[in-house]
Every structure is written in structure tokens, then in C-alpha cells.
Symmetry: C2
């Protein structure tokens, strides 16, 4: 069993994106056989890429205010919001508040 | 895309357990192909069963104080704690605080 605060996982840069970091808090290295739990931080006025890929996201917003964008427009998110992004669905998370936008994002392992 | 507050999902009783409820906030009915996200509430002085099963848990504690028990004993949990429970590992979540213990728990679909 692994039990620790999420901040014990190092926050990595999210590619070349400015103001976005990611912690892989539960991953294959912990023995997880199917999916990974990440905690993503987006600084004010920053966002994750608006993109699509062939796997799903299951998201729970922990802190902050902003929107998640899809083909239909922007949808408000705040603490307690859950978001399900289907495989191949376009999406991006935009911080529109004054504090860090922080959310959990679970994805299937990419080599399954 | 599904975007809503987790409280919009009905909280169901967790079997016959007293003081434990569960919301299946992202599940197969939403189109999720691989795993389900649940939000579990445990009332003060209550707990989830101490048990094991052949699938994993990936947990993030949102609120409250308590312990997660395994074969080695009790491990403190509080907001921001992540817990990885491996398949077939014994575990139980115990609320030892004065408010609801609330955590996210992600599991693979059982018919995969």
C-alpha cells in the first residue's frame, strides 16, 4: 500500500507549456496495473492544450476556477466539478481565476 | 463531455454499511470504457469494510481525518493524501475525525 500526501510526488513540467505542472501520484511504478492518477496544476491565465487523443480523462476539480472547453464551448469548473472527457473528444482546461486551478485527472496506461 | 458538480450524482448506500455512502460520478453509463470514479463519504466513527478483492483502488482524500488500515497497521489520512491499494491487498478506511471523511476512489470496471 502506498499512503502519502500528493505533494510528495515531484511536480513535472507539462511538456513545453507555461504554467502547467503535473504530478503522477499513482502510476505503473507503484504497481498500478490499469490506470494512472495525476494531479495537474494550472497557473492563473494559463491552460492545458486544446487537443484530442484516443483515451479518456476522468477529472475531479480540487481548487480554483476556470472552464473546460469542448466543441460546444466553455463550461465552468470549480471545486467539486467532475469532468468526463471521452476518447477522441477535443478538450482543454483554462484557469480563469486568481489562484492555481488544480484537478485530478485519471487516464488509462498508454501501453495497455 | 460530462461536466457537473459531484453532488449531482445521487449518493447510494454502500451495501448494508452504516454511515457510508457512494456516488458513482463517472461510470459506464457515461461511456467510460475502462474505469469508474466514485466519491465515498464515511460518517464519523464509521468505516468501509476491512477486506480485499482482486482489483486495485486509486484514492485521493478530499476531506476529513482518519486512517487506512492494512496488514501492517493504520496509516493516517487527511486532505491531499493519496492511497494506492493493490489487487488482493487488505484495506479499510476509518473515519476518526469529527466531520465526514470524503475521498475519491477509482476502480477498473468489473466486467472488463
Amino acid at each position: 500500500m502506498k499512503v502519502e500526501n500528493y505533494t510528495e510526488t515531484v511536480a513535472e513540467k507539462y511538456g513545453d507549456l507555461q504554467g502547467v505542472s503535473i504530478r503522477w501520484v499513482v502510476d505503473k511504478g507503484d504497481g498500478a496495473p490499469n490506470f494512472a492518477m495525476r494531479v495537474i496544476d494550472v497557473e492563473p491565465d494559463c491552460n492545458t492544450p486544446y487537443h484530442a487523443h484516443d483515451f479518456e480523462h476522468e477529472v475531479f476539480v480540487l481548487q480554483g476556477d476556470g472552464v473546460v472547453r469542448d466543441k460546444d464551448g466553455d463550461h465552468a469548473i470549480s471545486p467539486g466539478t467532475i469532468v468526463y472527457v471521452a476518447p477522441n473528444e477535443e478538450h482543454g482546461f483554462f484557469n480563469q481565476g486568481d489562484e492555481v486551478l488544480r484537478f485530478i485527472c485519471v487516464i488509462p496506461h498508454q501501453d495497455r
